[in-house]
Structures are given as structure tokens and as C-alpha cells.
């Protein structure tokens, strides 16, 4: 499904007189459809930078990210134009980021339901499925119509996950998804992710929790300390 080779990222900081900072260098790995690839490495070694490059939040400096897209066929995400990336993000790839970007004045259930609205699902059905995922993730019904900005770190993270998985993406990118969760919630998330894998979702994720890494990943890529 995804074949990465020679991927590198450097940051050019103008404020530091144009000095460049090394993100990571020559990452090469791949993942088959329906499989999960875990990325291992000490923190600060660029694990989330790799994911952000795949999702194109970061502009890759070198290398290629071949992805078998449903709408575009084989496409190099590093060089795809912005309109292709926008469409792929809408219909194929989801990214569970570490932090939830709070949307002011939108309730938890609407935040989770929104990705469905964009693809022609009715409002009621979208909210119903959102409620389902939220319950599965242990979010109490009372919080459905509250604003996420008042939630705890764990609850926000679960909203974040629910929002990314409600539409069973083709490729799911995950950056420390269970970082702020307690043992019990982590178990629930792992079960949910396994469920998704069973339905064919391909995954690439960075996990600090080795137990979760083993549970989910079919293969693991070791960041070599990134200089």
C-alpha cells in the first residue's frame, strides 16, 4: 500500500540566519494493504515528522512516498499537488494527531460526526454513528453535547481518535494515539484499531507504549537515531 524510500526532512529556520535543522534522514520502509507498520525510536528522533511528511503537513526534503491511491492509482505523496492531497485526505487517509485542534462552539458529537457530513451522509445518521464510536471509546453520553475544550486530556484524545476512525479510512496514520490514556482506555483503543485492521484499514503509527506497538503492528521500522 505504501512504499517509502530515502525520505529525509530538514527545517530551514530563517530566524536562525537560515541554519538548517535535521529532522530525519533516509527513511525507507513499506506496508502492505491491511497491515500495520509501527515506527520505533527514542522521542525527538523524528517519528512524528515522518508521519507528518506522509500526511504532507511537512514538506518532505528528499525521497519518495509511493501510495496506491483509490482515486489516483500509484501516486508519490511527496510530490503530489495540493488538490490531490486535499482529495486523498478527504476520502482515503486519516491522521490521529497528538493534539486535538479545538473547534470553538462545536459539540463533541458534531466534531466526530463532521467527516461523514462532508461525504454525503445525512446529519442524523452521522450523529448516530458518532454516538456509537464515542460510547465504544467510553465517552459518557452526558458529554456528547458538551464542548471538547472543557474535556480532560484523555477525553480529548478519544474524541480525536473517534473523529479519525468514524469513516474507516483506507490508510490510518497515528502519532502516539494512546499517549494520554489510562490502561483501560488504551485497551479499548487497541481493540478498536484491531477491528479496523480486520476491515482492511492499513496503518502506520508511532507508539511509545511497546505493548500497544506489539498488539497492533505487523512489522516495525526502527528510526536509526536520525543523526
Amino acid at each position: 500500500m505504501v512504499r517509502i524510500n530515502g525520505l529525509s526532512k530538514v527545517f530551514k529556520m530563517h530566524i536562525l540566519k537560515g541554519k538548517t535543522i535535521e529532522g530525519f534522514k533516509d527513511v525507507t520502509c513499506s506496508v502492505k494493504p491491511g497491515q500495520a507498520l509501527g515506527i520505533k525510536g527514542k522521542s525527538g528522533k523524528g517519528k512524528s515528522s515522518v508521519l507528518k511528511c506522509i500526511y504532507r503537513t511537512y514538506m518532505p526534503s528528499r525521497g519518495a512516498i509511493e501510495y496506491d491511491s483509490k482515486s489516483y492509482g500509484v501516486i508519490d505523496l511527496a510530490r503530489a499537488n495540493e488538490h490531490e492531497i486535499i482529495n486523498i485526505r478527504k476520502s482515503e487517509i486519516s491522521f490521529i494527531t497528538q493534539f486535538l485542534h479545538i473547534i470553538p462552539r462545536v459539540t463533541a458529537i458534531d466534531v466526530v460526526a463532521e467527516p461523514l457530513l462532508g461525504s454525503g451522509v445525512g446529519v442524523d445518521e452521522a450523529r448516530e454513528r458518532a454516538a456509537g464510536v464515542l460510547t465504544e471509546l467510553g465517552i459518557p453520553k452526558a458529554l456528547f453535547d458538551a464542548f471538547p475544550s472543557t474535556f480532560s486530556g484523555g477525553e480529548k484524545q478519544r474524541i480525536n481518535i473517534a473523529r479519525s476512525v468514524i469513516k474507516a479510512p483506507r490508510l490510518l496514520l497515528m502519532d502516539e494515539p494512546t499517549a494520554s490514556l489510562d490502561k483501560k482506555s488504551t485497551m479499548t483503543v487497541v481493540e478498536l484499531l484491531k477491528g479496523l485492521k480486520a476491515k482492511g484499514t492499513t496503518m502506520i503509527g508511532a507508539f511509545h507504549d511497546m505493548w500497544v506497538m506489539e498488539q497492533i503492528s505487523d512489522s516495525i521500522y526502527e528510526m536509526d537515531g536520525g543523526l
Binding site: 530566524i15 511537512y58 473547534i103
Partner: protein, 291 residues
């Protein structure tokens, strides 16, 4: 199913003042927005970009960067000194077979179209929401009347149907329907903006232009207006161009963003990339100076 862009802007330039070869020449470059030779002010210089169907493009930059001038030119409010704009329409036609794009406008540079073609485009193809309500609304005409006017332009002549549509749109923009027959001059700033939005979308435009829509509104009202725009993105097939100096608004609403300074495009890219991995020096400063 690669879609064609709905709007193509090519080398749009706006010079306030006499202008001279230096500031008009495409590849001449100079610092700031005052032309070294003829001292005229360069509002915009060589602005080119594409807007795709159903896409939300942000234009961000400090005040004086030329972003409002640009969007006013796109809406044909002011004449550009140079440059072209092409419009495409591939969506389904309006219920009365009305694409909003007259034949003469297909494939032609809209800036040099005849005035009634331009007016047609302004009334049907574009929806515009200005920062200040008096530019967008007739403040003495009733709120419903402001919306109905657009339908009248589409030769609608059934008052009950028009009022039903107007109250539906006002309801959608959370304006109490009983105030439909009141002039907007009695409304609060937030409500005036929402009447503008209702008016802008009344003819189901292909492109919605939003010029600093939430500037000057207090936070809670701003959130309401932004929330309304987000729901519109999902419900109606429309491309949007959002001009703002507020990075929060840009992050919330847009997929792609263009960064402007002194009338020029400094950088453009996916919104999250611009905000989290800015390439140009000015963008890095801009992004890091946000609260």
C-alpha cells in the same frame, strides 16, 4: 475524475497611481509596495492561483498586504491594472438551468467582459461577504428584501416562494425569522454579517468570497459565524475564498492558504503545512507571531 479549477487568476496586478514600466513589468522586483521609479503604490503584483471546486482557499497576510484589494478585484468591484481571470462551471446547473455563467464568459478573461456580463457574474456566480455590512447590504431595505433582491435578479416573481426561501436562509444563519421585515441597520454586527452570508448564498453561487468576515466581531459571535460557514461547506457545493489576517480563522476554515505581503504571493500550500512547516522567512515570522 480530475476536476478543472473553478477560478483561474493569472498575473493580477493593481497599481494605485500613474504606474510605470518598472512596476508594471512582470518580472521586475523591488522591496516594499512603493514603486522606486514612479512612487505609485503597488496594491497587488502578478497574483496567480487556481481555486478548485469544493475547495476552501485562505488568503492571509497583514493589513496592507493587498489581500482585500485582490478579493475586491475578483468580485469585479474594482478594476485591475493588469491580469486575467477565467471562470469554469462544471457543477450541476441551478434548478432553472441557470449556471450563473453566461456563454460569453466561458474561457474568456472576465476582466475584459462587457459590463452586463460582469454584473451577471457578480449576481449569480459569486457570493460576496464584506467586512463592513454597509458594503454588502442595503441597510435601509428590510433584511428579507436584501435576500429577495438576489432572487428578483433571477426573475423570480412569486413573493410567497421568495419569502419562504429568504426565511429558510435567515433561519439557517440563525437570524430570528420575525426580524425578516426589519432593516439590517437595527441589527448587531454579528447579525448583519449573517444576513450578508444568507444573501450571498441565496442564488447558490459557485464561489463564495469572504473578506475579513469575522473581523471586529466579539469572540462568541465570531465563533457562531465561523460555525455557520463550516456547516455551509458541508451542506452546499461551493468553493470558498477566505481572506483574513487571523490565522485561527484560516486554520479552521481553509484547506489551502496563500500568504501575501506587499501585494505579492510569498508562499502557498496546504493550510496545515503553511502553519506548521512554513518555508519562507516572512511566513515563519507571521506564523510565530500569532498568539
Amino acid at each position: 475524475m480530475i476536476k478543472k479549477p473553478v477560478l483561474k487568476a493569472r498575473n493580477i496586478t493593481k497599481i494605485f497611481g500613474k504606474g510605470c514600466p518598472t512596476c508594471l513589468d512582470d518580472d521586475s522586483d523591488f522591496e516594499g509596495n512603493i514603486c522606486p521609479d514612479c512612487k505609485s503604490v503597488v496594491g497587488c503584483k502578478n497574483i496567480s492561483f487556481d481555486l478548485y471546486p469544493n475547495e476552501v482557499l485562505g488568503i492571509v497576510g497583514e493589513s496592507g498586504s493587498g489581500k482585500s484589494t485582490l478579493v475586491r478585484m475578483l468580485y469585479l468591484d474594482i478594476e485591475p491594472t493588469k491580469g486575467e481571470m477565467f471562470l469554469e462551471f462544471d457543477g450541476d446547473l441551478g434548478d432553472d438551468g441557470f449556471s450563473g455563467l453566461p456563454a460569453q464568459a466561458i474561457g474568456a478573461n472576465i476582466f475584459s467582459a462587457k459590463s452586463f456580463v460582469k454584473r451577471h457574474i457578480k449576481n449569480f456566480f459569486f457570493g460576496m461577504v464584506y467586512q463592513s455590512a454597509q458594503l454588502g447590504l442595503k441597510l435601509d431595505v428590510t433584511a428579507g428584501g436584501n435576500i429577495v433582491e438576489r432572487m428578483l435578479m433571477a426573475n423570480n416573481r412569486d413573493i410567497k416562494k421568495m419569502r419562504a426561501r429568504a426565511s429558510y436562509l435567515l433561519g439557517k444563519t440563525e437570524i430570528p425569522v420575525e426580524r425578516m421585515d426589519e432593516p439590517p441597520k437595527n441589527f448587531s454586527g454579528g447579525m448583519q454579517q449573517r444576513v450578508q452570508i444568507a444573501k450571498a448564498i441565496s442564488n447558490e453561487p459557485a464561489i463564495l468570497l469572504l473578506d475579513e468576515v469575522t473581523t471586529g466581531l466579539d469572540v462568541s459571535v465570531q465563533a457562531k459565524v465561523l460555525d455557520l460557514i463550516r456547516t455551509l461547506q458541508n451542506e452546499i457545493k461551493v468553493s470558498m475564498l477566505v481572506v483574513s489576517h487571523d490565522l485561527g480563522v484560516i486554520r479552521l476554515l481553509t484547506n489551502r492558504t496563500i500568504v501575501m505581503k506587499n501585494g505579492r504571493i510569498i508562499e502557498s500550500g496546504l493550510t496545515d503545512q503553511i502553519l506548521e512547516d512554513p518555508q519562507e522567512e516572512y511566513t515563519q515570522i507571521l506564523v510565530n507571531s500569532a498568539l
